[in-house]
Symmetry: C2
Subunit: 363 residues, 2 copies
């Protein structure tokens, strides 16, 4: 068997730094010990730095979707008026979660590939009264779009008393985000993207304004109950047995981010994104997102190229994982990620293989 | 610094076999690939063998409590009559989960340390009509008790059409359990106990009788929605990004169980339990559970010995983790686990340290 690459250019899981892998293989700690408490405290403190917040940070053993659901059930009561501004699969997921709990969200939808337009949100908020919460994405990996979180948050504040819930599962620690400076009430994220760890952990940063809603919210919850999580924080514990090995890995990843400096992480990610956009366009591929994010470049394939076959061959023959389109974009997009521990060399190898496979002779 | 032991005699997490640790440190797989699909399929198949079932097995990224909650929300509708037969902290947790969703469970409670008495369950079921579900524990780690799951299940079948939901988070792959032969509808478990893996994964085995309820159940759920999990099974996928590294570890642990043979695992665990019970009694400690389980031995401390101080010193000075009492038993119990990868040598070291610390001279 000839050597084959093992390069992940996928938007989560992203490749793991060796320090993170080593930490996950250590003998396991018990979660009701001082040693674990110190690890847990370290992770929460470093997460506050990454979130740029002084708010409470909660840790959950779940995927990013679980953290999104936790925001819905901890903030809302039946009949509450809520707005979801959606720009793709993950915005639609916020709406689906709310509907599963019997809520009837007002959905402000953008054409896929377009960023959330604050003017549309403003119009919606002006036509509604007593909006309890507004949900939107920082970045939506289904389209590669970056939303202007600051402008959207300002729009909410100008027009309502709603809490602002941001899904930054794919954006945090890759794209600039300022939880406190932009006055964001809840920001949820996951361990497996910009945070450079394995999947299994999710986080929420929760403002005092949001905690007031948590106390009165009537939607049912137990495992995702933020009150229980907050109550166990002074003991440096989690209410239920957490994913201890993933937390050990997350601590190492956060040390790497601390060492590099968060702003340098943002710059590095931006430089990789610029490279990916330029290389994609050199290959004659159109950028799908109007306001492309630095976490992932979505490239539209020319008619006649089946994206599913292309990504399957890249994986099977070249050892390179690149995501295709999701939902209605299945087969029509390539989504090349450049967040987390993805390197320039990974991207160069990925685009070289792509160039080979897209060249007319190889078609 | 002199060398110190690092011995976990705790009921989850339990120590990890080196093969499991190594697997969690491998370069991460993407979860939408054939390679992951094969791993996932292997884990589900081996879990069916451990569950002794041909029913559908679902995998969730959550703790055992999340799996317990998933059983409640996928089976029930508001107003359904349900019975919880509780023998400790984890039975009480079933009741608390149900109450969080607005249900009013009929609770049949045993004195702590006593096993669930099928006659009490029978009396409760005879006094009620249209019971939708009965919940109980296989083993309750708070008291070290083993319930007679088979007799309880027969009692349910004789007296109602209810589905039988068993929490075997701590029992599976340690104590005998026969999902199909005993006609159990739902059995939930977690990765970090008898299954010898890190925490972060939970499983549910779901019978056809239970699936009928799932289709009509009205309690709200999204992340824990079993319908979505079942829908993605033919593609060997999970609906949301799972804890991939923990799944890789779980596969290795299941290979170890396969190699040893599940019945040999049961025998080995029973022999360790017999040793622990004998050693505990030699030290003058009374067995707390009337029907003690093989997963964990709960020992009552004599008056005047503070269990919290004792376990803290065992950990800090001897490097041995032994759990104390939970809830109303805090300070009064030692709970010595002997499930999963805990060895005879671990137990011998643990009891030797305990003997030293309980000896009058050391008091």
């Amino acid at each position: 068997m000839s050597p084959k690459a093992n390069i992940l250019l996928t938007p989560g899981p992203t490749p793991l730094p060796p320090q993170v892998r080593e930490a996950m293989a250590r003998p396991i700690l018990h979660h009701r010990t001082r040693e674990f408490g110190q690890l847990f405290d370290f992770v929460l403190n470093e997460m506050r730095a990454v979130y740029r917040t002084r708010n409470t940070v909660l840790l959950m053993t779940t995927s990013g979707t679980g953290a999104m659901e936790s925001a819905a059930v901890n903030l809302l009561s039946p009949g509450d008026r809520v707005v979801v501004h959606t720009t793709g699969v993950f915005g639609d997921r916020f709406a689906a979660i709310l509907e599963a709990y019997g809520m009837e969200p007002v959905v402000v939808a953008e054409e896929w590939g377009c960023a959330a337009d604050p003017r549309k949100l403003e119009a919606a908020l002006r036509s509604l009264s007593a909006v309890k919460a507004v949900f939107f994405q920082h970045t939506d990996t289904s389209t590669g779009v970056l939303n202007d979180v600051r402008a959207l948050a300002e729009t909410v504040r100008r027009n309502s008393d709603a809490v602002i819930v941001v899904d930054s599962v794919s954006g945090l620690a890759a794209e600039p985000l300022e939880t406190d400076a932009w006055d964001l009430d809840v920001v949820v994220t996951g361990s497996q993207k910009g945070l450079m760890c394995a999947p299994g952990l999710a986080f929420a940063a929760v403002s005092e304004r949001a905690w007031k809603l948590v106390e009165s919210a009537k939607l049912p919850r137990f495992y995702f109950d933020w009150r229980r999580m907050r109550k166990s924080l002074p003991d440096l514990e989690t209410p239920f047995t957490p994913a201890i090995t993933v937390i050990a890995g997350q601590a190492e990843a956060l040390k790497l981010i601390r060492k590099e400096g968060l702003e340098n992480v943002w710059k590095r990610t931006a430089a990789l994104a610029a490279y990916a956009r330029a290389r994609g366009q050199e290959l004659g591929l159109e950028l799908f997102a109007r306001n492309p994010s630095n976490i992932l470049t979505a490239l539209r394939l020319p008619p006649g190229v089946d994206g599913d076959i292309l990504t399957a061959r890249l994986l099977a023959e070249d050892g390179i994982s690149i995501a295709g389109g999701q939902g209605r974009l299945k087969g029509h997009l390539l989504r090349v990620a450049h967040m987390g521990y993805i390197s320039r060399a990974d991207l160069e190898a990925g685009f070289a293989a792509l160039a080979r496979r897209l060249a007319p002779a190889a078609a």
